[in-house]
Subunit: 148 residues, 2 copies
Amino acid sequence: MASIRKGTEKDIPALMGLIHELAEFEKAPEEVETTEACLLEDWKEHRAFDFLVAELDGEVVGISLYYPRYSTWKGRCFYLEDLVVRPHLRGKGIGLALLKATADEARKAGAIRLDWQVLDWNEGAVRFYEKIGAHIEKEWWNCKWRID
Amino acid sequence: MASIRKGTEKDIPALMGLIHELAEFEKAPEEVETTEACLLEDWKEHRAFDFLVAELDGEVVGISLYYPRYSTWKGRCFYLEDLVVRPHLRGKGIGLALLKATADEARKAGAIRLDWQVLDWNEGAVRFYEKIGAHIEKEWWNCKWRID
């Protein structure tokens, strides 16, 4: 079974690799503009996120990347931006272990809820999230406004 | 015209009032579990969010509440959690002024994008956001997992 631990500087290349794998799966590989240097600076200097890694036989095979968010209705929450497990190792409980470990980090920081998003066509993921008791809302659309 | 400024401790009661007004509009008034004390602590002690207020004749008539978020594809962004203008003052440019001022805060902090969400039935808001050039994504569902 994979072991879960906090990510460190030396995990940044593996993190970048898994971000690219997820973008391929989400049919948007050309959308990734970040680089390893950018991830490192945003994590180390700006503390913009934190991450966990799942390790198996000395290799990073999964990651969860998260940061605090705020609900004006419920209070302090955590947002899970990315949860990725290498394709050939899916269905073995690594994703659930990462999710639970992320919830532990959130709880330790005083958050009462963990939020994330799922693509409407990703049926396997939707079933998995419903099974563990997550509440799924289908009536919100994302708005993104470039300001650079 | 309303003036826009950073929120302060004395604006917390008005902030709570506008959060309740928005929850009524979104047909979920019973969902608000936060209190003024909770907002104050989360803002002042935990720095979980920051907020701007629109003031008209000495009265707070609108707010924007935001915090940093992270996109593994684009880098550092800001998330606009709530944008509220008192109903009798809508359509006068106060929302746009708050949105632009929030983008300014985001830009100052090094963010390259401002993100938020809109309810799919809120046609007026959707038209407004499209008009100002925001990109709207309709294929993501929100997942929320209570961990308390």
